[in-house]
Amino acid sequence: MEEVVQGATQHLRRGVELLDANQPQAAIAELDQAVTLEPGNPRIRYYLGKALYGTGQYEKALEHLAIGLPVAADPSAFGLIMGQSLIELGRLKEARSALDGAAALRPNYPPIELQLAQICYRAGNVDAALKKLGETAELAPQWTVPRLQAAAIAAEKGDAATAAELYSAALDINGDLPLIWVRLGDNLEANLDYEGAIQAYRSAIETSSGLLAPQLALAYLFFNRQQFDDAATVLAELLQRVPGDPQILLPVGEIQMIEGQHEAALETIQSALRALERAPAATLQQVGAQRDGLMLRALELQAKTLTSLDRVTEAEAAARTLLATNPSNLDGLFVLGTVLLRSGNQEGRDHLSRFQRLSDVREHRELAYDFYRRGRDPERAAAEFEKALAIEPQDAATLTGLGTVHLAQGNAEAAIELLAQAREAGAASVEWYREWVLALHAAERSDEAMQIWQQVQEAGVTLGPRVWAALGKHQGAC
């Protein structure tokens, strides 16, 4: 018996060491042996539960934790991990119960408070989540995690100013977080604080020891601000480190175009295309399949550069390639129309006319979203969407947008009709699914809403807090 306990202890010790070394899978192997030898040991159950949680095996984690809990020396620790596992399984009310139990034993313990905030977020009560995260941050002034989570939620809400403040606060605690410096920079840039963004990206570079993202972010900031010399300098440094990376080559090519070096631009862009063609195919999202953004951008730039060089035959071919995948690709239509007319082929007029129509549609739609999201003026938004539909009645994105606005104004039936039309027109974006679920719920077709939500969940796509709150699946959890 003593040998059995000693053996279990050794496996437990090794398991804990592996867990501390961030090797949960290896830890599980040790801890499985430990629990076989000493199934009644709550410490083994705890660490095994923790390791299983770390590898995403939440049900199994709960099983072991539930066995160990009654005899645990520190039930609050068990309650915390059980709560976390239940959150991941979407069982928010049970998670709340487990965490409340843990909190009763260990009040104001920041890791427990953090998970309670997480429950509020998953229940769709974003404001309550932010409030809870604020309280947690005050309980743990040296802990970055509550501030980082709050920042991410603020950014998701579109509140770049608050996100930047929170990221900044986290970095005051620990400045050695290069990717957080990048996020701070992104949010400062969104808030038009360009000098601040540059400093943030530079801090990211200093702390990053070799990561590409910070330098790329800085290069794109310079590029978007039309500070092309500065952008070119950063990109040149990046290319020395990672020659042939299309993420770097494409903005280099664009700068060359703007500076009138069209031959060099074409060479650069075609290098990027070759690199992209060699790369593994991009993973498609299972809901709202999307093309690889970089490949599309490269093809569009190639078509435009060939046009600038008056290589009309190649430009025509490039444009047709774009249109083969998406007949409404604006760059493809513009380039094809332009080069055909240059060659004296009057078919070019049809393509340019279509380009103009679709360009107008896009403009009205962008203006509509601007009125809706920033201006909070749904009436003007709707008017712009209607103008877009007057040009192209079957434009999926416009139908989705107008449906969104009608839903926001409480007109669920009109929203459903428009979103259904959008679906027929080919809508399959995450935005469309989000609005569709919300519209169905608003129209008291909650069963259908829930069904769609389940399908989307199973496809690995999240529809966000608005949907969670609307479906009320976790009412009472927060």
Partner: protein, 546 residues
């Protein structure tokens, strides 16, 4: 018409520009709502016109004004008309008849009744006004049917039907109702994250208007169904013969819409060719802000090209004419893209700044949102841009930005809008009168040096319109051929010096050919530098040496 011949120079650097506003006695302060920036109506500023109203050979100037407070027509200084006395100006008394209190946009000049005295059309947000030059030092309001009552911006007189009378095209912007449009603070309109005035996008545009001169002192609306059916936001325009048929087309630069290019159809109608002609969008298919426009044969290929100014964080666009009104965006290739991104462009002019027989380029800049400066993001007052064409230096018409090398006049920082091109001191080079929103206008004098001797051409139409607008002049000198077109309305809401300045690389004009709008041709040979007054029927009726 005496003038001082400027010494030829071996091009020792770009000409130097001085600010001579006070020295010249120009006293004008623009009133346009005080710069609060609540409405889009407060953003466009105003322009004016150079004109020799008393035909004494010296340019006088009209500066168009707005009001100190939007909507209050009881107060304000009104337009200012300044008469020239040599190189100095004095303010004309109100009896001259041009001081109406309106929210003025700009002016265009043309001899509407062919009586030899230039008349003036003033555009406004509100009623436009046509003024007849009485020939006695005064103007009279002329209710000729062109008054409108909406938002007019730039306008041009052009003889569209070739009957010898100047017709009138007026660019219009949008329907403006200050009671319907939100203001900053209402949370309605943003640029980035900064709350700004609403518009133009989302507001209803107003259709441009074309008026036919009936030849009897009246105008009639013309081609109403064909002109601007989508009611675009018109800002600037030029008349330009882009298909080389001897008659000008009309190009309109629109804000946030596709630009327009009206040309004649074979059956005598009119069509918009901008989309198919490659001059509607940027070279990569984007609508741009389209605030100012100018034209010239910048590359010496005998075709008139177009340059349009655009918004900040975008480039001003150079459209190269490939023939028959088909254009290509060559901005980047010509070195004009990157330098313009930090600025918001308004009036622009092609003209020969350094007298080396090619067309250089000036752009007036200024932001429209004071809120951006208040937020510390982008400056409201900006410097202007001066580019020298390198066609004669390197054989390729690339542009080199030389503003910082060109003296104090090119370093002035203000929120500029109009720029009126004119040789106010008759010294043989074009100067610039820049209008600045809610600020004083500044007169910038070109102090040279210029490279070659200059020939000044003043044209008088007879069977053509008296102003000879639309005339094309080809001058050959020293093996170089230059083609110019007589137009005054390029830039932005302004009217420019109608006298043509041509620099002579060979020292003399070996050959001059004037194609009059009416179809006749005048040919001259071996003309010395100086002044030529050329009449469509009589030929040269006066010559003056420099």
């Amino acid at each position: 018409m005496l003038a001082t011949q400027r010494e030829s120079s071996g091009a020792l650097g770009p000409p130097q520009w001085a600010i001579v506003t006070s020295d010249a006695g120009i006293a004008f302060s623009h009133e346009f709502g005080g710069g609060v920036g609540d409405f889009v109506s407060e953003s466009g500023g105003s322009g004016g016109a150079w004109l020799d109203y008393d035909v004494d050979g010296r340019l006088d100037v009209l500066l168009v004004n707005g009001l100190p407070t939007w909507g209050d027509y009881s107060k304000g200084n009104g337009h200012t008309f300044m008469r020239s006395h040599g190189d100095r100006f004095s303010k004309a008394p109100e009896t001259i008849g041009l001081r109406d209190l309106v929210w003025g946009s700009g002016a265009t000049v043309g001899d509407v009744d062919n009586d030899g005295f230039p008349d003036v059309f003033v555009t406004a947000l509100g009623s436009d006004h046509l003024y007849r030059n009485n020939g006695d030092g005064t103007f009279s309001a002329w209710p000729a049917g062109v008054e409108g009552n909406d938002w007019s911006t730039s306008a041009t007189f052009t003889d569209w039907d070739g009957d010898g009378f100047l017709d009138l095209y007026v660019a219009k912007y949008l329907e403006f109702d200050d009671e319907e449009i939100p203001v900053p603070g209402d949370g309605a309109c943003f640029y980035g994250t900064v709350e700004v005035f609403c518009g133009p996008e989302g507001l209803v545009g107003t259709r441009d208007k074309f008026y036919r001169n009936n030849g009897d002192g009246t105008f009639s609306p013309w081609m109403e169904s064909e002109i601007d059916p989508d009611a675009t936001y018109g800002f600037a325009l030029i008349d330009i013969d882009c298909d080389s048929d001897g008659r000008p087309e009309i190009y309109v630069a629109n804000d946030s819409n596709i630009n327009l290019l009206y040309r004649r159809t074979r059956n005598g109608g009119i069509e918009d060719w901008a989309l198919f002609g490659g001059a509607g969008y940027s070279g990569d298919g984007r609508e741009q802000a389209g605030m100012g426009a100018t034209s010239a044969d910048y590359d010496g290929d005998g075709l008139f090209d177009v340059f349009v100014t655009n918004f900040q964080n975008d480039y001003n666009t150079l459209y190269d004419n490939r023939g028959d009104c088909n254009f290509e965006d060559v901005t980047a290739r010509r070195g004009l893209a990157t330098s313009s991104f930090p600025y918001m462009g308004w009036s622009a002019h092609f003209f020969d700044v350094d007298g080396d027989a090619d067309q250089d380029l000036f752009v007036a800049n200024g932001h429209i949102h004071p809120q951006f400066e208040q937020a510390g993001i982008e400056p409201y007052a900006q410097r202007n841009l001066l580019y020298l064409n390198q066609l004669r230096e390197i054989g390729t018409a690339n542009f080199s930005e030389v503003s910082e090398l060109s003296g104090e006049g090119m370093l002035a920082i203000a929120s500029s809008r109009g720029a009126l091109r004119g040789d106010y001191d008759n010294d043989g080079d074009h100067d610039l009168l820049v209008t600045n929103i809610n600020d004083k206008a500044e007169l910038l004098r070109n102090n040279g040096p210029t490279r070659f001797p200059v020939l000044r051409l003043v044209l008088i139409g007879r069977s053509s319109n008296r102003s000879a607008y639309g005339a094309q002049v080809r001058v050959e000198s020293g093996g170089i051929s230059q083609l110019l077109e007589l137009r005054v309305s390029d830039g932005y809401v302004g009217s420019n010096d109608p006298r043509m300045l041509v620099y002579l690389p060979g020292g003399t004009a070996d050959f001059i050919e004037v194609h009059w709008p009416g179809g006749s041709v005048t040919q001259l040979e071996k003309e010395e530098p100086g002044w030529l007054l050329v009449d469509e029927v009589q030929g040269v009726i006066a010559r003056r040496s420099p």
